[in-house]
């Protein structure tokens, strides 16, 4: 009596199909995450916290450790508070003006941390650090948000 094969052509094709679907899905989801030689770099970056009360400037201080957008950690190396200035249009003179905002401060928080660099991003934890991107800095008793206005490698100087 002829012994019946365990696997039919049908089974093999279904297995091929499943493998192809899984492979295709993995390719789609992983192609953008595939990093070309991630490299560790120490960076400095400055976050602008706009038009805040003086209390913010007092609470943020050098040496404090912060979490960057819920990801990795970094250290505050300088805090500079300037009188807040708004950029607006003067509809009488027809000029751009930088007008002071009474009682408010623009706080520039410079942070130092270990980042991962690849062709696409420079990241601390999962947070992509880029000039123009908004990040949050979370520390003991505070969370501040704002755009990154400047960034550079440690090797480029403080």
């Amino acid at each position: 009596m002829e012994k019946k094969s365990k696997f039919t052509v049908f089974d093999v094709i279904v297995i091929i199909l499943i493998v192809a679907i899984i492979g295709g899905g993995a390719y789609y989801f992983l192609r953008n995450k595939a990093s070309k030689g991630n490299e560790e770099k120490n960076i400095y970056f400055t976050v602008e916290v706009s038009a805040k009360d003086e209390a913010y400037a007092k609470l943020l201080s050098e040496g404090k450790t912060v979490t960057v957008s819920g990801g990795g950690t970094a250290k505050i190396v300088s805090v500079e508070a300037k009188d807040a200035v708004g950029f607006s249009k003067d509809t009488v003179s027809g000029k751009f003006i930088e007008a002071p905002i009474p009682g408010k401060y623009d706080v520039y928080v410079t942070v130092y941390g270990a980042a991962t660099e690849n062709e696409k991003d420079i990241s601390i934890g999962n947070a992509q650090v880029k000039v123009g991107a908004k990040l949050s800095l979370e520390g003991s008793g505070f969370t501040v948000n704002g755009p990154v206005v400047e960034m550079h490698y440690e090797s480029e100087g403080k």
């Binding site: 052509v9 094709i13 199909l17 950029f87 009488v92 027809g94 751009f96 991003d121 880029k130 206005v149």
Partner: protein
């Protein structure tokens, strides 16, 4: 009989098996055409496109990050895939200007001395058809389109203000 009572062709191969084999072959051919670029060549052409994205108003401190990106790839930040949409070949800054509607109902062109317009020139191998110009990943390059872009050094919103291709 070509198909017997068990649904087998010449009594050997199941019709369902044949249908699935044809389906698999079709999927394979479709995948090949999609990823090999042959599909696009039937009614469209690969062209070397150059386009300009204007970002404004930008402060002097932030212009440097954009200038640092010359020679780097530019990515589309609108989608989660963040596909590459070309290589930055040049960055130029000019004083930011705009038209201000005055209180008396007239308009005046104003120039800022603290903010800049930054023009980013991007080069990309694109696909040209009768109706579209798009990147290999299918991102449409259209004049006037607002784009969310970024390189390794910056992230911003900008408008495509010039498109050319050869």
């Amino acid at each position: 009989m070509i198909i017997d009572k068990n649904g087998k062709l010449f009594g050997k191969i199941s019709i369902i098996d044949i249908v699935i084999i044809i389906l698999v072959i079709c999927c394979g051919v479709a995948a090949y055409l999609r990823f090999s670029g042959h599909l696009g060549n039937n009614d469209s052409n690969r062209v070397n496109a150059t386009y300009e994205i204007t970002v404004q108003p930008v402060r002097a401190i932030s212009v440097d990050a954009i200038k640092k990106s010359v020679g780097l790839k530019l990515y589309d930040r609108k989608t989660s895939a963040q596909d590459c949409i070309g290589t930055i070949t040049n960055v130029e800054q000019t004083p930011y200007d705009d038209v201000i509607a005055l209180a008396d109902g007239t308009y005046k062109n104003a120039v800022s001395d603290t903010r800049y317009s930054v023009k980013i020139t991007v080069n990309c191998e694109c696909t040209l058809s009768d109706t579209t110009l798009s990147t290999p990943e299918g991102k449409l390059i259209e004049l006037g389109q607002t784009e969310y872009i970024g390189s390794k050094w910056f992230a911003s919103e900008g408008e495509i203000t010039k498109v050319s291709f050869e």
